[in-house]
């Protein structure tokens, strides 16, 4: 059996190259456990998912920089971040579907561009130098901090001529109606080309830095494409799962997924998201978002300095 030549960990390589998780580009099985224990990774995923759910900023944009600052490479941390994104997306999906605020047609349309970006990002992130990835991650953290601190929503006006039977997306168009209390609010997508361009950038961010890109997608949908904030947020929760899965398929083939650490992230991510959603009603999301934005700025500075 081969010994890993890339890290100080001397754990033997998997005996079969190209196994389930593929062979990594430099013939080393990246082992997250060599740097951080699975328990620590689980706790980190739980805390960041809970905070992300509380502040609406997402957990991966906190988790990935924290793991990198703790000593993990971006190449190792990005798949873990994406797994927390998918886990959170799946866990939150059921609740948002119940609120009838997800527009699947808008989601799939924008997701085509985002997936193109995420697959591209995942493919090239495997060959980019670590320093470039760290700087990119720091820029992403700063962008998320900025987006989280300045969130505004475009308000679409309710239509008194619409009833409960009108709620839902429409066949053949990027149009829909969603319930806002007792009101029914119609909406339609505008500026689709610009929106798709931003989605491609969001996908690229996901594929390279391991963050969901939701801090780009939701404002792009709500403020560029004029989708109501609630629909944009719910649809984004649906699409970030697809974007992350697309990148993870590439990363799995590249051999970058550590099953043991991944289990901790999935468990912590789902648990934290559930806890965060339960506590959310009792706290001020705006205040938490500002606190998280400040923390992201600090983390970004640390990343830039250490890069």
């Amino acid at each position: 059996m081969r010994m890993c030549e890339c890290t100080s960990d001397t754990r033997p390589m998997p005996p079969e190259p190209g196994g389930f998780f593929g062979e990594s580009p430099d013939n080393c099985r990246y082992d997250s456990e060599a740097v951080l224990s699975p328990a620590l990774i689980t706790v980190a995923a739980l805390l960041t998912s809970a905070l992300g759910a509380l502040g609406g900023l997402g957990g991966a944009v906190l988790l990935v920089p924290l793991l990198v600052v703790a000593g993990l490479s971006v190449t190792d941390a990005a798949p873990l971040g994406l797994l927390s994104v998918v886990a959170g997306s799946v866990a939150a999906g059921a609740r948002q579907l119940g609120e009838r605020s997800v527009n699947h047609r808008i989601g799939v349309t924008t997701e085509f561009a985002a997936t193109f970006g995420s697959v591209t990002g995942a493919l090239i992130s495997g060959v980019l130098p670590e320093r470039v990835l760290v700087v990119l991650l720091a820029v992403v953290a700063l962008a998320a901090a900025f987006a989280g601190g300045r969130r505004t929503g475009l308000r679409n006006l309710p239509d008194p001529g619409l009833g409960v039977d009108d709620v839902g997306e429409r066949v053949g168009a990027l149009v829909g109606v969603y319930p806002l209390g007792a009101d029914m609010v119609p909406y339609r997508v505008v500026r689709l080309p610009l929106g798709l361009s931003l989605m491609t950038v969001a996908g690229f961010v996901a594929g390279t830095a391991g963050a969901s890109g939701g801090f780009i997608k939701t404002p792009a949908m709500s403020e560029v494409m004029h989708v109501p904030t609630k629909v944009a947020a719910a649809t984004t929760t649906f699409t970030i799962g697809v974007t992350a899965s697309a990148a993870l398929v590439v990363m799995a083939v590249q051999g970058r997924i550590d099953p043991v650490a991944s289990a901790g992230v999935i468990f912590g991510g789902i648990t934290g998201g559930w806890l965060g959603a339960r506590v959310q009603a009792k706290l001020s999301p705006a205040g938490i978002r500002r606190g998280l934005s400040a923390a992201l700025v600090v983390v970004a500075v640390i990343l830039l300095v250490t890069a």
Binding site: E23, V90, A91, R105, V108, G126, V171, G172, A246
Partner: protein, 97 residues
């Protein structure tokens, strides 16, 4: 473009909700078991990863089927193209690696 011009989609999300709850509970359980087993959790942990990663993709495939039933061919093509891009990415990673 008034919503009245287009028929309301019959996709309410009811079946998706049930499926998503089952998937997240299963993934959570397997992942938790994986955390407890630690080093020897390879199969269990891998199963949790596969379930979580596959769930959104299966959801897209299911939406494509529903859109075929609604005869919304534009979005059927989009959905299939989306799945094709993902498959292509995996294929490129396989051949390039």
């Amino acid at each position: 473009m008034s919503p009245h011009r287009f028929p309301v989609s019959t996709i309410t999300g009811r079946r998706q909700r049930v499926a998503l709850r089952a998937v997240s509970a299963t993934a959570w359980g397997l992942a938790g078991l994986g955390v407890m087993l630690g080093e020897s959790s390879g199969v269990v942990a891998s199963a949790a990863v596969v379930i979580v990663v596959a769930a959104p993709l299966v959801r897209i495939a299911w939406l494509v089927v529903r859109w075929v039933q609604e005869r919304d061919l534009r979005f059927v093509v989009l959905g299939l193209a989306l799945l094709g891009v993902i498959a292509l990415g995996g294929a490129i990673a396989l051949w390039g690696g």
